[in-house]
Amino acid sequence: MSSDIQIPIDRESDIVTARQKGRELAAEAGFAGSDLTVIATAISEVARNIVTYAVRGEIRVTRIQLSGKSGIQVVASDHGPGIPDIALALRDGYSTGKSLGLGLPGAKRLMDEFEIASKAGQGTTVTMRKWTR
């Protein structure tokens, strides 16, 4: 039983690998039913952003424990162009691409905790956590 997985992301098919492996680890961590799909969907969104905006990066999924509760942490990191205005990127419908602009705000709604760290020209790290209920 692993407690940590790391998936390199540099092409579209890696998005599918990341969400499938993330779902497996979430199941091992005690998530069930729609929670598994919710976690896989959030991973899919941040993984696709890596492919679209940063070309390559990685997704790391870890089982976490904190003061009695347990859950899962997803870290999506890349060394792409970064996000100049994080508040703007988190707004529903905002996209610099051709897409719906729901990826980041949507992933935030899907998970319990959500943070973005980004520096222009240096890359982006999205950290998301969800706790079992």
Partner: protein, 124 residues
């Protein structure tokens, strides 16, 4: 690899497997636009029951397909969205506005039949 399109009377039926790539979906959109014209199809049913996840990308693509076929004279109905997938889509904020949805292939075919019925009555 191209996603196969089945022809059944005046309806085209597509079953999307596990996780289609961007390229495959764009190709499908093209192929459908083409075949709707060639076969004078009146409806397209896209079965997504095999999808593990419907993310914002997949949802935007399906909407694109629905619009394209509509311009060519055929209604598109998306069928087979699984309960957990529907739940996650809603949390994400996806609404599938302006795309018709039905429970499964059977209901989708019935819906198409009702739509054709409606159009016929209006014309008479």
């Amino acid at each position: 690899m191209a996603i196969p399109i089945l022809k059944q009377g005046d309806t085209l039926i597509v079953s999307i497997q596990a996780a289609p790539t961007d390229q495959e979906l764009l190709r499908l959109q093209d192929d459908l636009a083409d075949q709707v014209g060639r076969f004078r199809s009146r409806g397209v049913i896209i079965d997504v029951s095999a999808l593990d996840v419907m993310d914002s990308f997949a949802s935007r693509t399906l909407r694109g397909i629905a619009r394209t076929t509509k311009l060519r004279g055929a209604e598109t109905i998306v069928v087979g969205i699984q309960p957990d997938v529907a739940f996650a889509m809603t949390q994400l904020g996806l609404t599938m506005q302006d795309v018709m949805t039905a429970l499964d292939l059977e209901e989708g075919l019935q819906m198409l039949a009702r739509i054709k019925e409606g159009t016929r009555r209006r014309r008479e």
